[in-house]
């Protein structure tokens, strides 16, 4: 396990690159409008873009050794999008990744997707930016890209873009887990982009503009809105509750975990193809929760199912959330205090040779299901060094035995390899893969 320096330092709230924030642009054009100098408004905006200006306050640095949006303190909102690549032309695909990188660098800094922005371009052309984030701050927007196995080889096994030789073995399709009810239209994808921000409009704006830039090269396959982070990714964040009302993911990997991140999160040189060193794997699972039946379950049974108390999140054998669960402890009746099928036992690193993941999921409520029930659940996202040794064994144990399965359904699934970070202005997403 190569002990590289931890990376948290280069990921904190960092001054964004020079250029004016969306809010400042609006202010400038607003003044022009009030003065009745309609035609001058565009010129003001363009000039503003050309100048170096104060950095945006709540921007997360886009560039670094690793992609942002992984150990970054989990934001409140998500828009996740999976795309199919619809071109056969490798050059078009690489050109898109370059364009996306440039747009992502701009948007994460609080700027418009394209150079002339939402209002600075020619009046007869559609604006380069869709505009709904014009008066909004960066809101800690991060954009994280990943590549699915189907990008390397199609269903017939053909090498799509001359990169099949670089397919990492760990990007293997997930096995079928008992109880899976996966829907193809909510699963898979050649590319993914995870947009996280503290303002849902900023996250949606980012995905919308990237999708627009991608027309003709990629097509949106599925996407998911999420609210309310379900994980803590830094020590400063408290463990949030899932929609079942429980603290889940107490043992999450966090930004401060240093060498443990190298061991459990970041792909190391020698793990597989060199292009992915410094990257990571992302497993996404759309997990519907049957909240109506869960809500009719007694508190005692709910706590037995999780193996934790609902109030503090402490394991049933402890007093505090972070107390180590004592899986050997037995009660007066001689049975284990934490049941053999309890969620905390089945998912705990101790049961899987210490396997940890960096969970970064979000709640979803996609309206209702037409049968008088909420269409709600967990959009599970977990980053890890090798899904075969982390997500797969944990999920296999959960799928076999977890009592929680009575209340959840896995309906969507995907695995992506997230390349290392974009290093500098000349770098782009996927450079290490496509050369």
């Amino acid at each position: 396990m190569a002990a590289q320096t931890p990376h948290q330092g280069d990921r904190s709230t960092v001054p964004a690159a020079a250029a004016v924030s969306r809010r400042r642009v609006l202010a400038a054009t607003g003044i022009a409008g009030v003065a009745g100098l309609a035609a001058a408004g565009g010129a003001v905006a363009r000039d503003a873009f050309a100048q170096d200006a104060a950095p945006a306050a709540d921007a997360v640095a886009f560039r670094g050794a690793h992609q942002a949006g992984i150990v970054t303190a989990a934001q409140d909102r998500l828009h996740f999008a999976a795309f199919d690549v619809v071109t056969r032309d490798r050059d078009h695909l690489v050109a898109l990744l370059r364009q996306w990188t440039a747009a992502a660098a701009r948007m994460t800094a609080g700027q418009a997707a394209g150079g002339s922005g939402a209002v600075g371009g020619p009046a007869q052309a559609p604006p380069e930016d869709t505009g709904e984030a014009l008066d909004l701050p960066p809101a800690q927007l991060t954009l994280t890209v990943g590549f699915g196995a189907s990008l390397f080889r199609d269903a017939a096994g053909r090498d799509r873009f001359g990169i099949a030789a670089h397919l990492p073995p760990a990007l293997a399709p997930l096995p079928h887990f008992p109880g899976d009810q996966l829907r193809p239209e909510l699963s898979g994808g050649d590319l993914c982009v995870q947009a996280c921000a503290n303002d849902p409009q900023v996250a949606v704006h980012a995905i919308r503009n990237l999708a627009r830039i991608g027309f003709g090269t990629v097509s949106l396959r599925w996407s998911q809105l999420g609210f309310g982070r379900t994980s803590a990714t830094t020590r400063a964040q408290s463990t949030p509750r899932n929609l079942m009302g429980f603290k889940d993911g107490t043992a999450n990997l966090r930004a401060e975990d240093g060498a443990l991140l190298e061991e459990q999160l970041w792909v190391q040189p020698g793990d597989g193809p060199q292009w992915l060193a410094g990257g990571t794997y992302l497993v996404s699972r759309k997990i519907k929760m049957l909240v109506e039946t869960w809500d009719r379950t007694s508190l005692a049974e709910q706590e037995a199912i999780f193996g934790r108390t609902k109030g503090s999140g402490a394991p049933l054998t402890g007093r505090d959330e972070f107390d180590r669960p004592d899986f050997a402890a037995t009660g007066a009746d001689g049975r284990p205090v934490i049941a053999p099928e309890a969620h905390v036992r089945l998912a705990h690193p101790d049961q899987h040779g210490g396997a940890r993941m960096l969970r970064r999921g979000y709640h979803f409520v996609d309206g209702s299901d037409g049968l008088g029930r909420m269409d709600a659940g967990l959009f599970f996202l977990a980053f890890q060094r090798d899904p075969r040794r982390q997500f797969v064994p944990v999920q296999r144990a959960l799928a076999r035995s977890d009592v929680l399965n009575e209340y959840i359904r896995h309906v969507g699934s995907a695995v992506f390899a997230c390349p290392p970070g974009v290093r500098d202005a000349g770098d782009h997403w996927g450079r290490t893969l496509f050369g």
């Binding site: 607003g30 035609a39 408004g41 363009r46 619809v86 009046a123």
Partner: protein
């Protein structure tokens, strides 16, 4: 047709409702002789000059009244050549409009209701007007020839369709319905210039307000496919024929601008994206792919007419357009059936997604044609 009309934007010569704050400015042609000052008050509409040479005419409209106002330039009684809306009290907004020689009316509309305070405005032949790129003039001539060909086909096919309906020959009428619509759908952005005629000919039942009469192609479509009787369809058929004759004559006579060609090409693809892929257009007959193909053809014809201009100004865009048009045609060709097309309800969701992707891929470069033409 679409539920919402962008008539004012598309209307003859309406280059720009140039007033929105922040619209880019330096790419527009300079007005000869400077802006014409218009002062709108709650009871008056003062115009500094009532004539201008042909070309780009710029009005600077100041609202000195207490009510929100609008300013229009009208060709004839009610054909909008250009407009600027929502001018708040105290504000000054600009209208730039391309006007050919002829008689116009101006109108201030304080309170934004009624016919407005009208005045006559004359545009004289441009002696030393701004030079027009002869390639643009040629492009418009090519496209007008295309429109003429389509209106001729529209008249012929509508005549046959109406005869079949009135003769009670339902099978024949059903076969002619999608065919008669093809020339119509190829030039629909031109038809939309003429206010009431387009909804009379092509309104969908769902677009109507309570009390509005349901007439035109889609009423006959409902008679043929749902009611399955044309016993009472005669008057609708006669009205359709009369309306088609009127619009054909108007469309042929209409002087178009290069910008209208460009915007029309985009509008046709928007029609595909919003009406045909969803199956809303031919809700009863499901013959949407005939309209799809016709919209695509019409869009391509407008772009083809502009090709020499685009080749000179933005060759990369031309390459992109050619590839995207070819891809969209190929995607649609997979659904040919006999001499026509599969019905909309025979397409799977996966089929529709491929078509939608093709139109989205094409729509983006086509949306950039207008800027290339107007610079």
């Amino acid at each position: 047709m679409r539920a919402t009309r962008t008539l004012a934007l598309l209307a003859a010569g309406a280059l720009l409702p140039a007033a929105a704050a922040g619209c880019g400015g330096d790419d527009r042609p300079a007005a000869s002789g400077g802006a014409i000052a218009v002062t709108s008050t709650d009871g008056g509409c003062e115009i500094a000059r009532t004539d201008a040479p042909a070309g780009t005419v710029v009005f600077s409209v100041a609202n000195k009244g207490a009510k929100v106002t609008e300013f229009y330039v009208l060709a004839g009684a009610d054909k909008v050549a250009g407009e600027v809306e929502n001018i708040a009290p105290g504000l000054t907004r600009e209208l730039r409009v391309e006007l050919a020689a002829g008689a116009y009316q101006t109108a201030c509309k304080p309170g934004m209701v009624g016919d407005g305070i009208r005045g006559a405005f004359t545009v004289t032949a441009a002696g030393a007007g701004p030079a027009v790129d002869p390639e643009l003039t040629a492009a418009v001539a090519r496209y007008r020839a295309y429109v003429k060909g389509q209106t001729a086909a529209l008249l012929t096919l509508t005549t046959q369709f109406v005869a079949a309906v009135k003769g009670g020959r339902i099978t024949e009428a059903k076969a002619l319905f999608p065919k008669a619509r093809e020339p119509w759908e190829r030039i629909e952005p031109v038809a939309e210039i003429f206010g009431d005629l387009d909804p009379r000919i092509d309104a969908r039942e769902a677009d109507l307000e309570p009390g509005q009469a349901f007439t035109g192609f889609h009423k006959l479509e409902k008679d043929l496919w749902v009611t399955k009787s044309v016993a009472g369809s005669g008057p609708t058929a006669d009205q359709l024929m009369a309306d088609i004759k009127e619009i054909a004559a108007k469309a042929e006579a209409e002087a178009l601008t290069p910008l209208q060609l460009a915007n029309g090409a985009k509008e046709l693809l928007d029609e595909v994206a919003t009406g045909k892929i969803t199956g809303e257009e031919d809700f009863f007959s499901h013959t949407d792919l005939w309209d799809f193909k016709a919209n695509l053809d019409g869009s391509r014809a407008a772009v083809e007419a502009l090709r020499p201009v685009l080749v000179a100004r933005d060759p990369a865009l031309v390459a992109q357009l050619d590839a995207a048009f070819a891809a969209a045609s190929a995607a649609l060709d997979r659904h040919r059936a006999g001499t026509g097309w599969k019905l909309h309800n025979q397409l799977t969701k996966a089929d529709l997604k491929l078509l939608s992707d093709a139109i989205n891929s094409l729509g983006e470069p086509v949306s950039r044609v207008a800027a290339a033409v107007s610079r």
